[in-house]
């Protein structure tokens, strides 16, 4: 079975939701759509308060090269433009608030048969659909699919690893939407001009693996079985596991001829290009020991977490953390009115757990052994906590993928990732200052 060096084996906790078929959540009454629903620059709003909007209507346009279109997730009225705490950026960001007034009235994208469309026409649809990577990083998909001509891309890799504990949405998509995934892959292969695509699936999802194998028969799309290990779905680790190619430090997958897309993104691409649906909804898992009825859901972008949890029977009154995403890399939120974004792969709610106090590092070297990037997390923590940022950068601070394996495994309960993230932020800020 394919894998990479390092990594950890957190408890899977997927049984809460892995047997639950994907359900469509009823339309929310109000949505809060961040203008920053993607990596890069915030979109520019093109609606004002009082405007009537239809589902799929453009409400934000890209600002700059790395940015994305925004569409109204519901049919209704723009009631407000206000700043809301953005869970990723960590500070308030402008959001368009839309109150739903009726059932969906769609504004669709113009499409045709993709086999007859040119590369640029397809790319244009993907761009107009506002598709970003649904795995979490929210990088605009049309940008990823248009590598500069000097970078020859020969392989498209699809991330179906879903290594985060708790989350099962990708698993369900591979079981229930395999045809859509296949179409999405074929569309993206055409755009990239690649002969080959490989979907990586972890061995704890054998049913999905076999289903994909069956559906993909006769197409130039392979399925690779990956060892169940965290972070198997991290881009560089996934590429290495499947192709043994190493993305250079500070480089991108396209430097080794590869583009990686998440299975959810494949579905979104198919829906845009074939069905003319802009990205206004996504699949996500709602689970955790504090959720009454864990589910896999299709939810409109901008739906508040509170509504989603209520639809799943609510959460235990003793709930301690609510996390956007999975437990390894997800962001804990303290306000349930925060809306989900295009990259929100799950909502995880946990009951209180025993938290052990931090002890000094005893140099046990566990963190070094598990680091999938071959870094020395104990050292990065030490240097970061002493604010020796330049030295930390020399030791690979910026190479950290923040997977949290070091923190997960540390017997001294040191929060390496927390210090590393902070150090990265400070370093980036000072570097800008120096220029």
């Amino acid at each position: 079975m394919l894998t990479f060096k390092g990594g950890v084996h957190p408890p899977q906790l997927k049984e809460w939701s892995k047997e639950k078929s994907i359900e469509r959540m009823p339309l929310p009454e109000r949505v809060y759509v961040f203008l920053l629903n993607h990596a890069g620059n915030p979109a520019k709003p093109v609606v004002s308060v009082g405007d009537e909007v239809k589902t799929g209507q453009v409400i934000g346009e890209p600002e700059g090269f790395i940015s994305a279109y925004l569409h109204s997730p519901v049919t209704g009225k723009v009631v407000e433009l206000k700043k809301i705490l953005h869970p990723i950026v960590g500070k308030p960001i402008e959001a368009i608030v839309i109150e739903r007034t009726s059932e969906d009235e769609w504004v669709r994208l113009g499409t045709g048969n993709y086999e007859q469309m040119s590369k640029d026409e397809i790319l244009d649809v993907i761009k107009k659909a506002g598709i970003v990577g649904l795995g979490g990083a929210m990088f605009p998909t049309h940008v990823k699919l248009s590598p500069p001509p000097e970078k020859r891309v020969d392989t498209l890799i699809i991330n179906g690893a879903e290594c985060e504990p708790v989350l099962t949405i990708d698993h369900r998509l591979m079981l229930e939407r395999a045809e859509d995934i296949l179409q999405g892959i074929l569309i993206m292969m055409k755009v990239l001009g690649t002969e080959k695509a490989i979907v990586g699936v972890e061995s704890n999802k054998m049913d999905a693996y076999q289903n994909l194998k069956k559906i993909f028969k006769g197409y130039p799309v392979d399925v690779a079985l990956l060892k169940t290990k965290y972070p198997q779905g991290a881009e560089k680790q996934l590429i290495y596991a499947i192709t043994k190619r190493r993305v250079p430090r500070g480089g991108l997958p396209m430097d080794v001829g590869i583009v990686v897309q998440n299975v959810g993104t494949c579905v979104a691409v198919k829906e845009a290009v074939v069905d003319g649906k802009p990205l206004v909804e996504r699949g996500l898992t709602v689970s955790g020991d504090a959720v009454k009825n864990p589910k896999n859901l299709i939810v409109r972008i901008g739906t508040p977490v509170r509504d989603i949890l209520e639809y799943c029977g609510g959460i235990d009154e003793n709930t301690e953390r609510v996390i956007l995403g999975g437990p390894m890399m997800g962001i804990a939120i303290t306000n349930l009115d925060i809306p989900i974004m295009k990259g929100t792969s799950g909502v995880t709610a946990f009951l209180p757990r025993k938290v052990q106090p931090q002890k000094p590092c005893i140099r046990c070297s566990e963190c070094v052994q598990v680091c999938p990037m071959n870094l020395q997390p104990y050292l990065l923590y030490l240097l970061s906590s002493k604010r020796r940022y330049d030295e930390a950068v020399e030791n690979g601070l910026m190479d950290c993928i923040e997977c949290g394996s070091c923190t997960y495994t540390c017997p001294s309960k040191i929060e390496h990732v927390r210090y590393i993230k902070l150090a990265k932020t400070v370093y980036r800020a000072t570097r800008r200052g120096r220029k």
């Binding site: 003793n318 953390r321 303290t334 000094p360 017997p411």
Partner: protein, 318 residues
């Protein structure tokens, strides 16, 4: 409902420092029982009180001298205390032992900043202190098997196998060396019991296996070569089984805090320990060189770590 604002990851392994220390104590216990069997009640007394006093002293320093009011004992003081007890002769008076332990923890550990900060293995710092301050007590050995209740002052004294060999060319029976029926420090004499404890740590995935392998391997190679040059250097098996090699290689050199981080660094460290141990044994003034070689290599750890940094994923070979 009060939601916690916490950083990812939101899951943690259950393992902690206390469990690691507890495992080390468990791993040392066969050798402690062996020490009691071979050297009598006073040996057991030193081991048990060593662990207790070590831990209490640690708590005292943290709570009252360093003012950490909510300090939770982690077991590292007990490990140092027990290891120091295993490193001394049964002839060492209790007051001297306590002095050595205070030195080990005070100077060897807390003076550097406490748990995880020390450069040298605290138990070996304590041993070095005792060896220099009370050489007679530290190097007067008793003949094992005098009976559990015999007072250490009453039993016959003898030299260690290494000293016997160095001074008189006398070889001790390999079986006695293997099971520990020889004179020496409390916990170092039985290779068998130390290996049992070591096996436990290996099974529990607690140990840096590269250090014992490279350390013992180096001693083996070095002594084989020396033996081929002249039989007066003693044969390899004798060197493996006698003295503190097993205790040192399995339990002292492998101390996480004072040994290198990467497997490569650990191999270098082990080889260094092995070469120095044999150099001291064969050409030095002491019959034994384990503790000084480990202490010396401890000092080189930052340097070794610096030159054995793992290559970052995606880094191009220079």
């Amino acid at each position: 409902m009060k939601l916690l604002s916490a950083y990812a990851p939101h899951l943690r392994e259950e393992d902690d420092v206390r469990k690691i220390m507890l495992d080390v104590l468990i791993a040392l216990s066969p050798a402690v029982i062996g020490a009691a069997y071979f050297f009598g009640w006073y040996a057991l007394f030193l081991c048990v009180t060593g662990a207790i006093i070590g831990e209490l002293f640690d708590v005292f320093v943290m709570k009252y001298l360093r003012g950490v009011k909510d300090f939770i004992p982690d077991g590292s003081g007990a490990v140092t205390g027990l290891l120091l007890a295993m490193n001394v002769s049964t002839r060492l008076p209790f007051w001297a032992f306590v002095l050595g332990l205070v030195f080990a923890l005070g100077v060897g550990k807390h003076a550097f900043g406490g748990l995880g900060q020390n450069v040298f293995n605290p138990a070996l710092v304590g041993r070095a202190f005792l060896l220099i301050s009370f050489p007679t007590y530290m190097t007067t050995w008793v003949v094992p098997g005098a009976g559990f209740w015999k007072s250490p002052a009453d039993v016959m004294t003898s030299a260690t196998p290494l000293a016997l060999f160095k001074e008189q060319g006398q070889i001790t029976s390999y079986w006695d060396l293997f099971i520990g029926n020889v004179g020496g420090s409390l916990g170092e004499t039985s290779a068998l019991l130390l290996l049992i404890g070591f096996l436990y740590l290996v099974l529990r995935k607690r140990i840096k296996i590269f250090i014992p392998l490279s350390y013992i391997g180096t001693v083996f190679v070095f002594s084989t070569v020396a033996y081929l040059v002249s039989s007066k250097f003693g044969d390899p098996l004798f060197h493996l089984l006698s003295g503190g090699l097993m205790l040192g290689a399995l339990f002292m050199a492998t101390d996480m805090v004072t040994s290198p981080i990467t497997p490569k660094g650990q191999v270098i460290f082990g080889i260094g320990c092995g070469v120095l141990t044999m150099a001291i044994r064969l050409f030095g003034a002491y019959p034994e060189g384990v503790s000084f070689s480990i202490l010396f290599m401890n000092a080189l750890v930052p340097l070794i770590d610096r030159y054995t940094k793992p290559r970052i994923f995606g880094e191009v070979k220079k």
